[in-house]
Assembly symmetry: C2
Homo-oligomer: 413 residues x 2
């Protein structure tokens, strides 16, 4: 019988925390959409770099509109129209106004823009203003949006559409981002066949290669899948050695044959130092997970032995591998939902053994009382419970279960 | 002065609901990760198609273990070991047991698997069982996970890692998915320059082309960007006509020059029937939004005039265009968070004008009292408020604002 000393999920996470963010590359800001910044980005310019109108209307001196009302409008001389995309070649003096559109440059002398709807132009040279404008109203001053040298985005931010827009707006056309982690996936198991084949009795179609690769894509990594490996120590050592040369993370999805877990441990240890750090985690599903770290060419590579069972494999992927991929990507989670999951109320009792952390798949439902998390019990071996689930909850190590009505955090898939 | 009849946000959404999901294509199941199913997928086989062990241990007749305890173990004859990936060439009779590993085929005659840790093997042919096993324990029966013809995933599901895994597991190697919507982005505006250029006085760098393209990618569409168009009706008509031939959605991001909104309306109407449906929405930001529908070659194309202002452009994108892209993709939202946003408590009063829906950007923070949504006030023209925001809340048409402590739903970016 094999023996391994299981560690707590917290100790396993600790072993994974040692991996640092990967090196960087310079990309065009648009090409960096969805990637993670490796540098703080400061604005090289004031934005805007001229006073801009934020509404269609008339630029004027605010003082000229003070006291204006429906009953007693102010009357001003229209001295011109601000062209789009160019500086106006006139200024606005006392008693004067200029037609201006959103985005136009507020002429010298003017300090406010009165909205079109509060004005009438009885003739092209006269403006009737029916409401006072405050100084600075409907004007975005120089640097009001972003000042020169102001921080726009910090290292660790995954670039969203508005972030890409802000970079374009200040002329930052390229940024330093972290490399996407390359994740090699090695499925092993004498019982596995390619999904295109019809399995014979006792054989099953390989699931992990595809579900793990899709998971890597979802987490922002680049998956590289291998063909199914036989349960053969020499072959496994050789393929692991090949994979670790170019991958940042190697996932070896274990078959189930007697010696394979020991093979995996031996093969990982043969790759270099420090080797296997964790061999077994007090978690369900996923107890026989192996975590190794190998130093190669000055870089730490993560080699993770994933249980062969498809449900265990994906749960361990979500709970341990996905966070590592994000960590290697340099990503800092933006919201508490990303960090801790979505709050929900448990819809019924779930039992658990103390001394073991349970990852329980749940489906979410919203009713008038809030968000419910329905535990999907079934057999934990069923992949169909994964397709029905929206996420999972964690029943802590020391708990004997959670009661109906308990407040839980759902980690979304 | 231009005039347009604004409609309510609900009417604008109604105008967009008419667009049907796009045509389909057949992809390998792995290649379809992240895409939306256009068909219900049923399992072509029972999964598993043989009784599988879900634990390492011994296959036996449960009845032979009844009454077994630490004090009085049951003793059985070990008749063999189940090979991985093949049917055992023996059966298990009364008083017999066979070594089996997770995923192995339970031999004929056996109806349970007792876990390794509750057994001892004093010699290779004898097994001591210290705990009773129930019938079916640690065995996944034929079809227990998925029965032949059972629904695995319904049309409208965006394929996640576990979904791809389930398809592989039952040998569904290709699926019918909706085409990704092609979204053409036409930036217009005499004041715009490419972000690589240094703007002269009155000019600004083009933001929308990049932020909208990144937004399209986030929503699962394929962006196609054009160079900046001048504010010239003939050119705009020609480029719109070219774009509509191959794109499913055309976004024309309006400049600000006097006649351009009318140009856009005229140009959209010139493309075909029914033409412009909405010209102005009672919403802030984004009032001058234009929604058109053009029938071309039997397909309805959405042509949307997006306000030129970068913040308005992105807000309208998130509130109106992103839902259309998902609708064209055939996607059915899985969770209430996707449909309605994330619940939070407003951290301070926000004023609004009745008769107008306000989209207010918020930053999320979690403290001991729950999740707070901090309104990012600043000037609504500031792109920097978008980079600081995690999402936005909607202040309804009829409301005069929302009070500190109000329960809100945050639509995440």
């Amino acid at each position: 019988m094999e023996f391994f000393k299981v560690v707590s999920p917290e100790e396993a996470k600790e072993a994974l925390r040692g991996f640092r963010a990967l090196g960087t590359e310079r990309l065009s800001s648009f090409g960096a959409a969805g990637r993670v910044l490796a540098e703080d980005v400061h604005s090289p310019v004031d934005l805007p770099d001229f006073p801009r109108a934020t509404m269609d209307g008339y630029a004027l001196k605010a003082a000229d509109s003070f006291g204006a009302s429906e009953a007693i409008p102010a009357y001003l001389d229209v001295v011109g129209q601000v062209p789009m995309g160019a500086a106006p070649d006139f200024s606005v003096g006392r008693g004067e106004a200029a037609r201006i559109l959103t985005g136009g440059m507020v002429p010298e002398g003017a300090d406010a823009v009165v909205m079109e709807e509060f004005t009438t132009a009885p003739d092209p040279e006269t403006l009737e203003v029916r409401r006072p404008a405050a100084v600075g109203e409907n004007v975005l001053g120089v640097g009001d949006d972003l000042k020169k040298d102001e921080l726009i985005l910090g290292a660790g931010a995954r670039l969203r559409s508005q972030d890409v827009g802000a970079l374009a707006g200040v002329g930052v056309t390229s940024v330093e981002v972290h490399r996407r982690p390359r994740v090699a996936i090695l499925p092993t198991g004498d019982e596995l066949v390619d999904p295109r084949e019809t399995p014979r009795a006792g054989q099953v179609r390989d699931i992990n290669r595809f579900s793990l690769a899709a998971g890597v894509l979802e987490a922002g990594g680049e998956p590289e899948t291998e063909d199914i490996l036989p349960d053969d120590l020499a072959v496994i050592k050789e393929r692991l050695e090949q994979a670790i040369r170019h991958a940042d993370v190697v996932l070896i999805s274990g078959g189930s044959s007697m010696g394979l877990r020991d093979y995996t441990v031996e093969a990982i240890d043969s790759l270099g130092e420090p080797g296997v750090l964790v061999h077994g985690i007090s978690i369900k599903p996923g107890k026989p997970t192996i975590i190794g770290r190998i130093e190669r060419d000055g870089e730490d590579k993560a080699v993770i032995g994933i249980p062969g069972h498809p449900v265990s494999a994906l749960m361990i992927f979500h709970a341990f591998v996905r966070p590592v991929i994000r960590q290697l990507s340099g990503e800092v989670a933006r919201t508490d939902v990303e960090r801790e999951g979505l709050a929900a109320t448990l819809s019924r009792n779930v039992a658990s053994a103390p001394g073991r952390e349970d990852l329980v798949r749940v489906a979410l439902e919203e009713d008038e009382n809030g968000r419910l998390a329905h535990p999907l019990m079934g057999n934990s071996a069923m992949i169909s419970t994964m397709t029905k689930a929206d996420g999972y909850i964690v029943i802590p190590l020391e708990a004997e279960g959670l009661r109906e009505g308990a407040q839980v955090r759902v980690h979304l898939y």
